[in-house]
C-alpha cells in the first residue's frame, strides 16, 4: 500500500473553502439569478460544502442548487477499464438565462467538464457557465478547459493520483497526492 503525501491539511482545507466562497461572493454578489451545480458523485461533497458556507455568509440561499449526473454524457464510457456507474441526478430547475457555477472536486483531463457542459444543455441555455474546482491539475489537460475558481493548483505527472477526502465519508477533510493510481 503506497502512502499518499498530504498536500492540503484539514486547517488549510477549511481556509480554502472559506476563500473560494468570498471570491464567489465578490463576483456574484447576492447570487440572484445564479445556480450552483455539483457534479456527481464526488463534486457533490464540495458543492454541498460551498452551499452550506455560502448560505451562512449570505444569511440566505436565494440560488438554485442541483446535482448533475454526467454518466450518460461521457464520450469514454465504453473505453474505460472499469465501467461507469450512474448516480442520481437532482436538477429541479432549468438553467435557461441563468448564471451557472459548475462545481467539481478535481479538474484533471477536462473530460468530465466537457460531459457536464453537454448535460447542462438539456436544461436550457445558460447566460454563462463558470467552473469551480477544488484541485486543478493544470498540466494534465486533454481539452481546452480551465477553471475560473481554484482551491489549489497541483503540478503532477500523468500517473499520479490526487484524492480529495471528506470528513463525511473518509477520516477528515484533506487532499492527498499518490505517486500512482491507488
Amino acid at each position: 500500500m503506497q502512502r499518499g503525501r498530504t498536500i492540503l491539511s484539514k486547517e488549510h482545507f477549511q481556509l480554502t473553502i472559506e476563500r473560494l466562497c468570498h471570491q464567489l461572493i465578490e463576483q456574484y454578489d447576492d447570487f440572484s439569478n445564479t445556480c450552483l451545480v455539483g457534479i456527481q458523485p464526488r463534486g457533490v461533497f464540495f458543492s454541498d460544502r460551498l452551499k452550506e458556507r455560502l448560505t451562512d455568509i449570505l444569511g440566505s440561499s436565494n440560488f438554485d442548487y442541483g446535482k448533475l449526473d454526467i454518466t450518460f454524457y461521457r464520450d469514454d464510457f465504453r473505453h474505460r477499464e472499469k465501467p461507469l456507474k450512474a448516480y442520481s441526478n437532482q436538477m429541479e430547475f432549468l438553467v435557461e438565462n441563468k448564471k451557472v457555477l459548475l462545481v467539481d472536486d478535481v479538474l484533471y483531463t477536462g473530460r468530465t467538464i466537457q460531459a457536464a457542459l453537454a448535460g447542462l444543455q438539456d436544461y436550457g441555455r445558460p447566460e454563462s457557465v463558470e467552473l469551480v474546482a477544488l484541485v486543478d491539475r493544470r498540466f494534465n489537460r486533454h481539452l481546452p478547459i480551465h477553471a475560473d475558481y481554484v482551491g489549489i493548483t497541483i503540478d503532477a505527472l500523468d500517473e499520479a493520483y490526487v484524492k480529495v477526502e471528506w470528513k463525511e465519508t473518509d477520516t477528515s477533510d484533506r487532499i492527498l497526492l499518490y505517486p500512482h493510481k491507488v
Partner: protein
Amino acid sequence: MAEQLSTNHLLGIKDLTPQDIQLIFETADTFKEVINRPIKKVPSLRDITIANIFFENSTRTRISFELAEKRLSADVLNFSASSSSVNKGETLLDTVNNILAMKVDMVVMRHPAPGAPHYLSKRIKANVVNAGDGTHEHPTQALLDAFSMREQLGDLGGKKIAIFGDILHSRVALSNIFCLQKLGAEVTVCGPPTLIPKFIHKLGVKVSHNVRETLQWCDVANILRIQLERQDIKFFPSLREYSQHFGINKGLLDSLKKEIVIMHPGPINRGVEITSDVADSDHSIILQQVENGVAVRMAVLFLLAAKRG
C-alpha cells in the same frame, strides 16, 4: 454491487445473476429520471446502431425498444418479417448476417421459435437481446414487471407474487418465475389445469387452481392473457366459462378486503382474464409497467453497450 453484466447478450433471465438484475434495476432508476426530464434524451449510444428484428407481431415491445434506443441516441433500424425476404425462403442466419454486414452493433429480436436468439448469439458478433422467443422467455418484460413490483413493495425478498392465466403458452410467465425467484420472492401460478405445465412445480413454484385463495395469499397479482393464437386445440370450453372461473373482477377483489397490486403485461382482453373496472382501478399499475418498460430497456441496452469496449 456488480459493476457490469456477467453476460454479453440478454437471452433469458435464466442466464442472469441476481447481481445482474440489481444492476439493471439501479441503472433503470436513473433512466426513469431521464425520461421524465423536459429533454428525454442522452447521447450515450450515439455511435451504436441497433436492428429491431421482429418475426412475430408486436406493438408494445417494439415501440418500447425503439423509444429506449432513440432516447439513448442510437441509430435504429426496424425490420419485420412479414415484409421481408424471409417470405422468399431466406434462413434466419442469412437474414441477420445481411443486416450485420451493414455494420449493425446490436440486434433486438423476437422470433416464434424458442431458442432462436441463443442460436444467433453463438454465430454473430453483435449483442443479441431477446424480445420474446416463442413460448420460452421474454426477459425484458420480466425485468420491467419486477422493477414495477419493486417500486410498489421495495425489496422483493419474501414477497408473495401470483401469476394468473395461460402459464403454458406464456414466455412472460417463465421469465417472471426465474426473475422473481432470483430476487427471493415466493411465486404461485394459478389457472385451469390444462393451461399449467405438468412439471412446473419442479421450478419451485406453487400451483393453484383456486383464484380466490391465491388472491388472498398474494401481494401482487400478475394476470396474463389467454394466448388464443398459440392454442391449436381447446384448452377450456369457452371464453365465457374461463372468465367465470378464472377472470378477476371488482366484486371478487373488494370481497378480499386487502391491499393488492394488479399487473398485466398487455395486451388486455377486457372481460376475459380481467374486467375493465379492475384494469382501470387504483390497484392496477398496468400503465406504470409500460412507462417502466422504456427505462428498463434503456438500462439493458446501455449495460450491454458498455460491455462492447
